[in-house]
Point group: C2
Chain length 415, copies 2
Amino acid sequence: MTEDLRRQVLAAKEAARKLRVLSSSKKNAALLAMAKALRERADEVLAANREDLDQGRERGLSKALLDRLALNQDRVEGLAKGLEEVAALPDPVGEVEGMWKRPNDLQVGLVRVPLGVVAMIYEARPNVTADAAGLCLKAGNSVVLRGGSEAIRSNIAIGNVICDAIAEVGLPKEAVCVVQNTDRKLVRELIRMHDAIDVVIPRGGAGLIRTVVEEATVPVIETGVGNCHTYVDKAADLQMALEIAINAKIQRPGVCNAMETLLVHGEIAEAFLPKLAEQLLDKVELRGCPETCRLIPQAKPATEEDWATEYLDYILAIRVVPSFADAVAHINQYSTGHSEAIVTEDYSAARRFLEEIDAAAVYVNASTRFTDGGQFGLGAEIGISTQKLHARGPMGLKALTTTKFIIYGEGQIRK
Amino acid sequence: MTEDLRRQVLAAKEAARKLRVLSSSKKNAALLAMAKALRERADEVLAANREDLDQGRERGLSKALLDRLALNQDRVEGLAKGLEEVAALPDPVGEVEGMWKRPNDLQVGLVRVPLGVVAMIYEARPNVTADAAGLCLKAGNSVVLRGGSEAIRSNIAIGNVICDAIAEVGLPKEAVCVVQNTDRKLVRELIRMHDAIDVVIPRGGAGLIRTVVEEATVPVIETGVGNCHTYVDKAADLQMALEIAINAKIQRPGVCNAMETLLVHGEIAEAFLPKLAEQLLDKVELRGCPETCRLIPQAKPATEEDWATEYLDYILAIRVVPSFADAVAHINQYSTGHSEAIVTEDYSAARRFLEEIDAAAVYVNASTRFTDGGQFGLGAEIGISTQKLHARGPMGLKALTTTKFIIYGEGQIRK
């Protein structure tokens, strides 16, 4: 079965050679055909999804997981719309990022080109299958999609529809490869096919991401874990701080850009924390440092572990800090480098926060919930990178490309 | 001893926090102090180097290796000059790559920032110690330098001089960390310190690079192996092709951008190959396909292995190909993605070659020997990346940085 997988991946690599030189109009035609086919064959996708859901219920999957797994007519329409939106985005491939002449008249340029073969390793949500296929194809890449076993029938059905549409417009359908065998051992094989795959992007829980980082020899773009902070400075507009903190915590607590720890400057803690508690206590469990617990009697004492935890839930850790520097030190110690915010009206505090905090997205006076490709104006996103290499923060189409140097000579040789 | 190493690396990480926000003028002052100290304390470095050389001779190191290891007054002067040149380069840190407003008035920008902690794993040449320290510091990074055991005394001596100079200008000397223990097991520890090191760059032989790629959990930038081709098209200016081929092969055969295989279009093989043989045969061993051997009786038959070998020596593989497409197919099969060249006067062939060849540097009518940070105008280089993630081709200061999103708000929350 390793051999089957290898054959598929090599076919994807071969297809990538053809995609690499494809015009935008051909790629867009494929994306529109994929959208059309998904609408026309929605029943087929939904039937497969019902089988996944039935088996999920038998296996006793949680309600939240079943919800992430479930498709319906609206969600399939959403997938089709998403593909049309990707078709409408500008194509990054072929963009010349710069070209210059050297003293010997050699003309050196840097041009944006596809990565080649992208492997996605992901969990429950079958929408990733269509989204990733669309984004990778638009950027001229083949994609190997290895979703979770709980969504395998849905993924295969979406893959069939997409591949048929690709073939219909005359492109190689091997460009989108849904791995049908969900044996976990094959993931390890996949992420070590260094000669055929150019990058692997894991999307899912911390365990999945750790396994991929540990085992892969293919370069990895690490995504996701967000232990995000909001720091309410002593010079904050407290009403603004209240709105931002509440939004960052509860607008959608289960996602990586939601706030997990709130830091509050000691000088305004007494004015701020009771007001916050009033608005949050009926929905959110508060865990605080001793000073927080003094100001909010209903808060539970926070432990060291709380400062390091991404709850993804209706829980908030709160710490009162004596100074700006202590807030920065706390964040730089516990941050996972995702999204961090300060609320302040102090020019220098804002400037220093932007400089001193080492994270993918650093905010002044806004909710961390904006860390998202669409919200940042990058178009659809393939994930949020929390590593520093290649891409950092929300990854749009450009993150699915690389560059090459092109050199125009007229016989130059090196002396 | 793992604990010692970990302590050093964490100190480097702490130092990186200070470097991150340092002004260019302070970093440049450190670089100039490093250069001055190397000149002043050259004797100390040379004495340590003599001990390395003595031990190398005892251990029976090859002459080539001893030459790479050897320092002298001129080479130390070269190191100092190199640091001064890095000081003169523009600082990439703080450059805003773009800033735009979203419909909700959120101002989103992308700013270039240091990577953090860079680990270099390298072999014999002690000049890497000074070069890498200078480039990393200029880009605001700490660097952990793990050179080979054969150069350990030289590396430690250079490290001492550099660290003293850094301390002298008031910066944290932990920013440059020479690993003193050359036990190979520690390399494995180092490249798995995922929580403290942001990137590892291996420089050296294929074995070293493979080990790092296989074992690292820290993101790796793969460097180096270059199985480079030159394709002489049927529309080539044969005199130009001759000069380019000779330059690419013998101007310096032991480096990664030297040509290893020459491809020649069938229609001009008879006119071209005997002339080439005339100029190369006294210096270079030729290994050819059957047609090459017919045209150059002195050539030995090439095997499949020859097409895949990076000789780094006075050996050249030659293949006559029936068409442009066969040349492209050969290159895309055997290339390591380093540097590839076409010699042609045909506009469409040039254009197609630039598009269809998937390598870090693709040339028309020039020698592949130009693939180098200095030659491309990037300033000093930290290595040549042959992977597609983050950096591809010669890596200058910019490759030692990453970006972060900075977001200026005025109370925006997500709906």
